[in-house]
């Protein structure tokens, strides 16, 4: 029995279709990432799975219980960390933790070994009010509160948004350790680089899941030749490459442009072409696709499909 299963979930808010025919499953001891931009429907899916919202269509079950009928049982077994920081800002770190431990019918001591790794980092600030903590500390405290009752399934809705790079890295390391304890973790994030840290990911946009697979398999599913290109004038380069006949697609990625071509080409060949067109400081190399390349590729084809329909 999977820790989470969702089958053909749809949900609308008035005219807005927040989720359309979403299916996924997460196993025990699996770290599953829901990857997509803001407004893709991630939080809505989280709320349906945590029994806070009712789906219009479809079925879901968490920890072996259907989300509608046995919502009370689910509420005992899951830990939930909403996207917005949702602890009591006017209570201290320790007061927050004690409160959440008590309402779940347990104590900090009883489950201390589970949160120990995380709690030792915030312990020096235990008398500080939660509202006065830094972003990273807040997230660690929220994670502690979500874990204090030893949940079977952990829902983390954008836990690293607004958190500095170092804290983000630490946070993911903690998730890896939790996973090893057999907890199923569903985590959402808008950051594509975090996708690599999950066992499996689902790419989601406009309420639809584009693809579900392990990050490695998703990357290798990208079959087109891909090159990272850079030149002095990035904007002119983007326009120039869009017009080139060998170009399938070209998209900006940080300082580079990712160029996908129709056929396999020698990077020198492209460089010569750009030289001829008057670009300077050209850098070009063949690269492997990242999850983001896959995501953009999939979302573009999906949009084309939707537009032509």
């Amino acid at each position: 029995m999977s820790a989470i299963t969702a089958a053909h979930i749809s949900k609308s808010f008035g005219e807005v279709r927040a989720l359309q025919d979403v299916s996924l499953s997460v196993e025990h001891g699996e770290l599953f990432g829901l990857i997509g931009p803001d407004g893709a429907g991630k939080s809505t899916l989280f709320r349906i799975l945590t029994t806070l919202l009712l789906a219009d269509e479809g079925e879901a079950s968490v920890a072996g219980h259907p989300v509608v009928k046995e919502y009370k049982k689910i509420r005992r077994k899951v830990g939930y960390m909403p996207g917005k920081f949702s602890l009591y800002q006017d209570l201290s770190v320790q007061e927050n933790l004690t409160f959440f431990a008590t309402i779940f019918g347990t104590t900090i001591e009883a489950n201390y070994e589970l949160i120990q790794d995380i709690y030792v980092q915030i312990e020096p600030f235990k008398t500080r009010l939660a509202g006065k903590l830094s972003g990273g500390m807040k997230q660690k405290l929220a994670l502690c509160c979500a874990l204090i009752h030893k949940p079977e399934v952990l829902f983390l809705d954008e836990p690293t948004t607004g958190v500095d790079a170092v804290s983000r890295k630490e946070f993911w390391e903690m998730l890896q350790r939790l996973k090893e304890k057999g907890i199923a973790i569903l985590v959402s994030t808008p950051y594509m680089d975090e996708a690599e840290l999950c066992d499996r990911i689902a790419l989601i946009q406009h309420g639809k899941i584009l693809q579900t697979d392990s990050p490695a398999r998703l990357r290798t599913s990208y079959t087109h030749p891909l090159y990272a290109v850079k030149a002095a004038d990035t904007y002119r380069l983007l326009k120039g490459l869009r017009e080139a006949i060998y170009t399938r697609s070209v998209l900006p990625f940080g300082g580079f442009l990712h160029l996908s071509t129709r056929d396999i080409m020698d990077p020198e060949q492209i460089k010569n072409d750009l030289d001829r067109k008057g670009f300077s400081n050209i850098e070009i190399k063949k690269i492997e696709a990242t999850v983001e390349d896959v995501f953009l590729e999939l979302s573009e084809t999906d949009e084309l499909k939707t537009a032509t329909r």
């Binding site: 009591y88 209570l91 959440f100």
Partner: protein, 369 residues
């Protein structure tokens, strides 16, 4: 389960004690409201000033002026000499009441001719004008009676008025019960609706819902501290009324507190009901101000008597819990009546409370929408 409840109440107390604004509303407002109603918003007047336009200037008119001042309520401000001065005084707003004594006052009076003393009052402030005129007429009548007693008119009807339960017609007797009703409503209904709305606004309600807590416990845990605090406030108002404004508590104190408790429960249920339809604190605040405070202040008989209102407003007034609560309070506090005489009002209040409790329990959402 009791441990969970205790933790909840403790958490709620932290919220209250750490927020200066909440504390101010909880304890500053009752005191401020009692003092404002007691000292500022009052229909009584002390040391009212009046102007005398004595056209007669004889011994009798002087005696009348003396008599007017003898009660201690009036002080002569100005002796007016001309019609123009009289008009100027009213226009400038310095004259509120002028007593015009006609020429030949003494001789006409002793000759048995009818004499009229004119009372001129500034009608732009009708309440004040009315009270002043009433006081002045009473004084003039008593003056006439004193004089006539000495002469030989055998037939007269004496009117003796006594205001029972509130002999001085002190407005404190009216506003203390009214203020208790309002304070309990604000603390119980508004504050609880605000605190529940705050959990929704901050997102903590999401976590509370995704926990094993039964909805009933969430509500109880949130309202219990406010119930206790509003009770303290009710006592505070009673004590202030008793010691500062001499409002007596004639009836049974236990009955009084029991009725207060019933009303608090009704108000808490109202607050919870409001919070089930409000998403934000602002929303909850507006709903409680417009939907509870205004009607309870205007239509409960606290400020304006219900009996003189149009039928529609009377019906509205009759579905407001505060109407019955104030009625009971006045009965028990001022007239000292027992349970048997307020049983009808109490029953209505109980009915309303049960209905509101049921509605707020039914409307409490176990999910987000």
């Amino acid at each position: 389960m009791f441990k969970v409840f205790k933790a909840f109440v403790q958490k709620e107390l932290y919220h209250i004690l750490r927020d200066k604004r909440t504390l101010l509303i909880l304890f500053g407002m009752p005191v401020a409201q009692v003092l404002i109603f007691g000292y500022a918003v009052t229909n009584e007047f002390r040391d009212a000033y009046l102007d005398i336009y004595d056209q007669a200037g004889d011994h009798m008119s002087q005696e009348l002026v003396q008599h007017l001042q003898s009660s201690g309520h009036f002080q002569v401000n100005n002796m007016i000499r001309s019609d123009k001065q009289l008009e100027d005084g009213f226009k400038a707003g310095t004259t509120k009441l002028a007593v015009v004594i006609p020429v030949d006052f003494a001789s006409d009076l002793s000759n048995g001719k009818s004499v009229s003393v004119q009372l001129l009052a500034d009608g732009s402030d009708p309440n004040n004008a009315n009270t002043l005129v009433q006081y002045a007429s009473t004084m003039i009548t008593s003056f006439q009676k004193e004089r006539l007693d000495q002469s030989e008119n055998p037939y007269q009807i004496g009117v003796q008025t006594r205001m029972l339960y509130n002999p001085q017609l002190a407005s404190a007797h009216n506003f203390v019960p009214g203020t208790i009703a309002l304070i309990l409503l604000i603390i119980s209904a508004m504050m609880t609706s605000l605190t529940i709305a705050r959990e929704k606004e901050l997102g903590t309600m999401e976590i509370l819902l995704v926990s094993p807590l039964p909805p009933l416990l969430i509500i109880l845990g949130k309202v219990a501290p406010y119930a206790a605090l509003s009770f303290i406030d009710a006592l505070l108002v009673l004590i202030l009324g008793y010691f500062v404004f001499d409002v007596p508590i004639v009836g049974n104190l236990l009955l009084l507190l029991a009725v207060c408790f019933l009303y608090v429960v009704a108000a808490l249920a109202l607050g919870t009901l409001i919070s089930t339809v409000s998403k934000t604190q602002q929303d909850a605040m507006l709903r409680s101000l417009m939907g509870l405070m205004m009607p309870s202040m205007l239509l409960s008989g606290f400020i304006f008597p219900l009996a003189s209102m149009p039928k529609v407003l009377q019906v509205l007034g009759s579905i407001i819990p505060a109407t019955y609560f104030i009625e009971i309070l006045k009965g028990v506090m001022l007239r000292g009546v027992g349970f048997d005489l307020v049983v009808w009002e109490v029953m209505i209040l109980v009915g309303m409370t049960v209905f509101l409790l049921f509605m707020s329990y039914r409307n409490f959402k176990i999910r987000l929408e």
